[in-house]
């Protein structure tokens, strides 16, 4: 590179491998990945991090981060991460899970990992559907929202109501840090990154279970352009899933980043 280094404002994080992601163009899974990579790098913890990949579109997350990774069965990432962390308490262990993975099939595992106060970090991608399998209804699908398995729109009478995971988990004593952020614009992306940083700081300091729920897009299954998908998040997802800090323990409030 001929450019002097101090001209550099932003470059691809080193915590990433060189592998391009398999995500659809404009899918904000990629943004969430990038933020995690930036945080690991900034905290200088890539060497001691072990990731746990989900089943969902992020199944190949392990190809993109330059850290050790294991691949969990659908929904079981928090249990697997518990196994890893309990025998290697000085490592940094995180799961990366979609809403089908975490809030549907894996609801038992996430609730109990949180209740036990497992010292893990969970990156939770709420895109209101099962992306990987072709856009079926997820527990987080909005009322009235059309998906391939709620083709006339989610009918809450027969298909139930969305689950607000952050609100729910924040009631648990073992949870140190639990917030919801969104990836729909630069300002919110910055806030999301700060939250991810705080979540990992929580773990590094042994302050309990930490989770960042990220409102994310699925342009392919929503049938929208990436740009319109961001608008959908802003106009429809955020009202249903209000952004905010659902639980930040006092000890974590003291953390200065």
């Amino acid at each position: 590179m001929t450019t002097p280094a101090n001209n550099l404002v932003y470059e691809r994080p080193e915590a990433f491998t060189e592998t391009p992601t398999h995500y659809c163009p404009g899918c904000t899974h990629g943004v969430a990945h990038r933020l995690v990579a930036e945080v690991l790098e900034e905290m200088n913890i890539t060497d001691k991090t072990i990731g746990v990949a989900p089943v969902g579109c992020a199944v190949f997350a392990y190809n993109y981060f330059d850290v050790d990774f294991v691949e969990a069965p659908h929904g079981r990432a928090p249990a697997m991460a518990t196994g890893v962390k309990r025998v290697l308490p000085d490592r940094v262990v995180f799961t990366y899970q979609g809403d089908g993975d975490l809030a549907s099939i894996g609801m038992g595992e996430i609730v109990h990992a949180a209740a036990r106060g497992e010292n893990l970090t969970v990156i939770f991608i709420n895109n209101a559907n099962f992306g990987m399998t072709g856009g079926q209804m997820a527990p987080t699908t909005l009322p009235g929202m059309k998906t391939s398995s709620s083709q006339n729109g989610r009918d809450v009478e027969t298909q139930g109501y969305p689950i607000k995971v952050s609100e729910m988990l924040s009631t648990l004593e073992g949870v140190g840090y639990c917030v919801r952020r969104s990836l729909h614009d630069p300002k919110n992306i910055r806030l999301a990154k700060k939250a991810i940083r705080t979540a990992f700081e929580t773990q590094v300091r042994g302050l309990g279970f930490s989770m960042v729920e990220l409102l994310s897009t699925c342009p392919t299954n929503w049938g929208m352009t990436p740009v319109n998908s961001l608008k959908f998040v802003e106009e429809h997802m955020i009202p249903a899933y209000p952004l905010g800090d659902y639980k930040i323990s006092d000890a974590i409030k003291q953390i200065k980043i």
């Binding site: 890539t46 060497d47 001691k48 991090t49 072990i50 746990v52 990949a53 199944v59 392990y62 330059d66 850290v67 050790d68 990774f69 294991v70 691949e71 969990a72 069965p73 079981r76 249990a79 697997m80 991460a81 518990t82 196994g83 890893v84 962390k85 309990r86 025998v87 290697l88 490592r91 940094v92 038992g108 595992e109 609730v111 109990h112 036990r116």
Partner: protein, 371 residues
């Protein structure tokens, strides 16, 4: 070490601790719960990991996670709980990481009961989780053997990067017997070249997964597992023989059914009947070669099990009609008395064996007539 009185389940727990168990994850279920209870006290005392999981699903996936880091890890459960663990077992098999699982079997299907049974032989040996994978299955018949096989199971799991299951029934799990514990082994973390324990800046990153999207890669994985299984078959078959040298009738039975059969064999011998017992200790790999040899000597086989005839199929596959095979089973959580098996021995000894009737059908007819 001197012999002490040990309860089967607690003996397994302590033996695992002494073999260097670093993490245990489980969920209560009778008749296995003492393993969990014992370790809930013992593991924290030693600064090792213990978690009572939210379910067997949780437990097996915690085992999976810990196994990926290369430590000695196990879980234990009983039949319905093991069913829930099948997902995890398949993933563990597909990822080729070592793990130990103890199944203290009970009567089934469904909720069944909590009485001793061998109803999960097929699940352990042939079936269970999805996909094509072998696994090692050990079947102790006494508290001492449960201890020894627990220790062995960790070595085998690590050597072959394979699930090793111990299947026993509630009788062995609950019984008190004098037994000798091995010495306490210090925890020794092996430096496996596959373990995902974080790079610590010293090596390339590692990945453990069971996903092989390209069928050709999956096929290679299947073949790799099979080749490893061939090694297991060649090196790890274990069984015990009793009164076999001149035996004309050979009983084949594992675990408690084998043990009860041994009492019957002793009595029959006192009465001059030339009967012996082959007790498989590894029900997987099955002692096929030895059994095949015995077809040249025995004029009849009698398979005894505490189920409807699951190992029976494996015996028949090996014997391949060369010698008549008979069956006596007590399913549902019923433990046979030695007298019942003695009667079978006498029946086979006096009657020229029917030979061509299906062993299970014939047994069913006799059972139905009895009830």
């Amino acid at each position: 070490m001197p012999k002490e009185l040990w309860k089967g389940n607690e003996a397994i727990a302590e033996a695992a601790v002494r073999a260097g168990l670093e993490a245990y994850f489980g969920y209560p279920i009778t008749p296995q719960t003492e393993v969990l209870e014992y370790l809930s006290r013992r593991m924290p005392e030693l600064g090792r990991a213990f978690v009572q999981a939210e379910s067997e699903l949780g437990a097996v996936n915690m085992v999976y996670g810990a196994a990926c880091t290369g430590v000695r890890v196990m879980s234990s459960s009983s039949s319905p709980g093991v069913s829930l663990m099948m997902e995890g077992l398949s993933y563990i098999a597909g990822t080729e990481v070592p793990a130990v699982l103890v199944n203290v079997m009970r009567g089934g299907p469904g909720l069944g009961n909590i009485a001793p049974a061998q109803s999960d032989y097929n699940q352990a040996v042939h079936g269970g989780g999805h996909g094509d994978y072998p696994r090692i299955v050990l079947a102790p018949a006494s508290v001492q053997e449960a201890i020894d096989l627990t220790v062995l199971s960790f070595d085998l799991a690590e050597k072959y990067r394979m699930i090793t299951m111990l299947i026993l029934d509630g009788a062995i799990g609950q019984m008190m017997e004098p037994a000798e514990m091995p010495e306490m082994k210090p925890v020794h973390r092996q430096d496996f070249d596959w373990a995902t324990n974080a790079t610590m800046g010293k090596r390339e990153r590692r990945l453990l997964t069971s996903i092989y999207l390209n069928p050709l890669d999956e096929e290679q994985t299947n073949l790799r597992l099979l080749n490893r299984w061939k090694e297991v078959q060649a090196n790890e078959v274990r069984y015990k023989e009793y009164f076999i040298d001149d035996a004309e009738i050979v009983i084949v039975g594992f675990g408690t059914a084998g043990r009860v059969a041994l009492s019957a064999v002793r009595t029959a011998r006192e009465q001059g009947i030339k009967v012996g017992l082959l007790r498989p200790i590894t029900v997987s790999p099955f002692p096929t070669e030895r059994l095949s040899q015995l077809t040249g000597q025995a004029r009849a086989f009698l398979v005894t099990e505490m189920n409807m005839g699951q190992m029976l199929d494996d015996v028949q596959l090996t014997v391949r009609g060369r010698v008549p095979v008979e069956f006596y089973g007590r399913p549902g959580g019923v433990v046979p008395f030695p007298d019942e098996i003695l009667n079978e021995i006498k029946r086979i000894n006096s009657a020229p064996t029917a030979g061509h009737t299906d062993a299970r059908d014939a047994w069913l007819t006799r059972m139905t007539a009895q009830v």
